[in-house]
């Protein structure tokens, strides 16, 4: 099955500017009035290795990449051999005239040969113009306005040398003109300018987590670089003076989480972000934040494990690890985002929850939403307010930091305001003095764990069920699979989708009520052991036997889900 979208794909060696060209194409599409979804695949190297970005375009919202490619820009021969099976009748390949195409290529595939290398040499500014020439070609082929590309080049090269900007403008125009003159018969109005549309923003979850943190009044972030969350720090670091927060690069993730805990203890809204390997190093600090009741937002962007695993590819195999990380029992609040917009809203929420419950809050992302861009209109968060919870900075009489309370929450204070307390990693009494006395231990443990009950009563919304209430198949999933599943729902009948974002505490009753009514449950996730299905069984007693699991590092595609659904029952066929 071919999804009703136009998919542009550009591939080449790492270092040929594939990702930046992909993003530029996405913005060309949004500025022309369309919706996009970007998916990038690349190996963990800086030069060499195959990089590819696909941009799926439509006049309505798009949530996932497609399996087919309509326009393939091949900056090298390898791109053609790796991706020619994705081409369909009428697809176009744009490549250099020197690239010899395979004889076995479908005869209905159109080849637009452009002297990319020759034009590059003529402009004379080095090898990195190939991507821009190709963008110029694509702009012409899709009947888009070259002025959009010129504007994008101007902002991309605003901080760089004027000669690079001029050379890229020339490159785009050369590609555009070459196609206009030599291949007018293949021009289709795919990106013809739509009128009266407000251009959308193109954002990934790294962007939206950073933007969410800034909106939420975050004051301190210490983030050690790691794929796929480095872009969070790249977004935060340059604007810290504009917004008045501190980003500090630590020497390792252990330092990162302990610095953030120190900053939070001192009164600053604090966060860290990492991937699975870095979170392994953070787990002792995670538990420390739990017992000292220090608010902290931890972002964990999963990637392919175990160990270094597949560092630039997707996986959702850290769920169980995150749920059980850190020694001992302490109140763990765990959220998971399924797309960049959800990541934005959950980031805002996470800061308030951390402050209210004085405990670490983990926001789980996965590589595909961290690095894949999606188009959005303005996010609605006008009602959001910073809530710091029970915090006093005045000198109080008879102050006790860990005083037992009905909801498990005690008034927090900060050093320097005159209130005496110890934030103590050792079990402690109400003041914070170390205590291993049995009754006190139970009192403090009960107090801390009580927060989860309060959270469940006051802050745990029911899960979201997409699609019709009555369905032949109910899909259960979480994280980045959301996009592909929503696309599949659009193509099928009588399928609904239970999307889980609140992982711990878990909305067990609501999930149970929905699943008990389901005729057929399909679990979809990107790991080997069906970790979410296991959690659902633990929380509800419901065993899900039908599973679509993906652990090859690639995204689950809408087409895979549609195939799976139609194999379950014909009733879903539209």
């Amino acid at each position: 099955m071919v999804l009703p979208y136009f998919t542009f794909k550009i591939g080449g060696q790492a270092g040929q500017g594939v990702k930046s060209a992909g993003l530029m194409f996405a913005r060309l599409a949004t500025r022309s009035g369309y919706w996009v979804h970007n998916h990038t695949e690349y190996p963990s190297v800086i030069r060499g290795g195959h990089n590819v970005t696909s941009v799926t375009v439509s006049s309505r919202p798009v949530y996932a990449p497609t399996k087919h490619t309509d326009l393939l820009v091949a900056l090298n021969k390898e791109t053609v051999s790796l991706h020619n099976t994705e081409l369909i009748a009428g697809s176009i390949i744009v490549c250099d005239t020197n690239i010899k195409l395979d004889d076995n290529l479908d005869e209905q595939v159109i080849c637009v040969s452009v002297p990319i290398n020759k034009i590059t040499r003529e402009i004379g500014e080095g090898e990195l113009l190939g991507n821009t020439i190709a963008l110029g070609c694509a702009t012409a082929l899709l009947n888009a306005n070259l002025e959009h590309i010129n504007n994008l080049i101007d902002s991309e090269f605003a901080d760089k040398s004027p000669s690079a900007r001029i050379a890229n403008r020339k490159a785009a125009k050369s590609g555009f003109d070459y196609v206009t003159v030599n291949f007018p018969q293949y021009i289709k109005p795919v990106l013809a300018q739509r009128q009266n549309v407000i251009p959308l923003s193109v954002l990934n979850a790294d962007d939206t987590v950073a933007l969410g943190a800034i909106s939420a009044g975050m004051q301190f972030a210490s983030i050690y670089p790691m794929t796929p969350i480095s872009n969070i720090l790249h977004t935060l670091a340059p604007v810290q003076k504009d917004f008045g927060f501190i980003y500090k690069q630590p020497e390792d993730e252990i330092s990162g989480i302990n610095m953030a805990i120190g900053a939070s203890f001192a009164g600053a809204r604090s966060m860290v972000a990492t991937s699975g390997g870095g979170f392994c190093l953070m787990t002792e600090g995670y538990s420390l934040a739990g017992i000292t009741e220090t608010p902290l937002v931890i972002v964990e962007g999963m990637r392919g494990g175990p160990s270094t695993g597949m560092p630039t590819w997707n996986e959702q195999a850290d769920l169980r690890f995150i749920l059980h990380a850190g020694q001992g029992d302490f109140p763990r609040i765990v959220l998971a985002a399924g797309d960049p917009e959800e990541a934005f809203h959950l980031t805002l929420k996470a800061f308030n929850l951390a402050d209210k419950y004085q405990t670490p809050v983990i926001l789980i992302l996965d590589k595909n939403i961290c690095e894949d861009d999606q188009s959005y209109g303005a996010f609605e968060f006008s009602r959001y307010q910073v809530n710091r919870g029970l915090l006093t900075t005045n000198k109080e009489d008879d102050y006790s930091r860990y005083k037992p309370s009905g909801d498990g929450i005690s008034a927090r204070t900060i050093p320097g305001c005159g209130n005496y307390f110890i934030a103590n990693s050792v079990e402690h009494n109400a003041v914070g003095y170390s205590s291993e006395e049995a009754n006190n231990r139970c009192e403090q443990m009960n107090k801390r764990m009580k927060k989860l009950q309060t959270y469940s009563e006051e802050d745990l919304p029911p899960p979201i069920l997409y699609g019709p209430e009555e369905a032949e198949v109910t899909i259960v999933s979480w994280g980045s699979n959301k996009g592909a599943i929503l696309e599949a729902l659009n193509c099928c009948l009588k399928v609904n989708f239970l999307h889980l974002t609140r992982i711990n505490p878990f909305p067990a009753k609501e999930v149970s009520d929905i699943l008990k009514k389901s005729k057929h449950i399909l679990n979809i996730e990107c790991n080997y052991t069906a970790q979410m299905a296991g959690l659902i069984r633990e929380q509800t007693g419901i065993e899900i036997n039908d599973r679509l699991l993906c652990y090859d590092g690639r995204p689950i595609y809408p087409e895979d889900i549609i195939d799976k659904l139609t194999n379950i029952t014909d009733a879903v066929i539209k």
């Binding site: 500025r31 902002s155 251009p199 959308l200 923003s201 193109v202 954002l203 962007d207 933007l211 800034i214 909106s215 939420a216 009044g217 004051q219 604007v239 003076k241 504009d242 917004f243 008045g244 501190i246 500090k248 630590p250 020497e251 390792d252 252990i254 330092s255 990162g256 302990n258 610095m259 953030a260 805990i261 120190g262 900053a263 203890f265 001192a266 009164g267 600053a268 604090s270 002792e284 600090g285 420390l288 000292t292 303005a378 307010q385 910073v386 710091r388 900060i414 050093p415 320097g416 305001c417 209130n419 005496y420 110890i422 934030a423 103590n424 990693s425 050792v426 914070g432 003095y433 170390s434």
Partner: protein
Amino acid sequence: MTELNDLATPYFPSYCPGCGDIAIWAAIKKAAVEKGWDNTNTTLVAGIGCHGHMVNFIKITSFEGLHGRAIPVSTGIKMVNPRLNVLVITGDGDLLAEGGNHFLHVCRRNPDMAILLFDNGVYGLTTGQASPTSPQNYISKSTPLGNPEIPLHPLAVAIAAGITFAARTYSGDIAATAKMIAQAVDHRGLAIVDILQPCITFNKGFSHTYYQDNTYVLDTNYDLTNKTWAFEKSLEWGPKNIPLGIFYREERPVLETVVSTTNEPLVSVSPNKRDISELLKKYV
């Protein structure tokens, strides 16, 4: 004004009678009374080890964190509230073994805080294993055949990594130790005081007598701005050859000023919802 009584907690130190920690406890309180440290201006950050118990015996707001991690916690505090006087209480296992990486990098960063290194050359709380400052061939529970490693010179490491104040005292001299702690806090930048102390239970070699017989005070001609001299002195160790005093001092911009993004300490302004509409424009 801080009185000695203001610093009293309901708990008396749980240290072995004669432990060097008791003398250091006295020295910190003496410095606190003289300098007026209290809950409005000071915070203590400790790691894990016998030293860490001290937060229960001095009534100054404290953070007792993880083994080896007092440095990043204190650095985080200092960055968001530069007005706080931050004292790090740590041990030779805590700072130099488990926390060695943080120790190197905090010396490069130079936050304005003081590290008090309770240095007894042994792991006391875990009942007697070799530490990074135990002598070579030292017999302990973890080194029954003799310590195969040579000891680390903490001040040499600190000076090499860029610390701006390095000093050593002997815990038995409470007055000198108190004075040195006060000087370390007064220094603008990162200070370390390597406080030699006996562990009377698990390290019989580093006794009070040993320190009294083998230490000497750097003489008045010593140039404490000379980094080469400081480095040489920091490597000295042995019979009659353990220097005490300030080894090195320099002025360098402090971390919290370098990374500051606000006029007032970050924590003095309550965080508010921020307007990101300008920032969002670059994503269109």
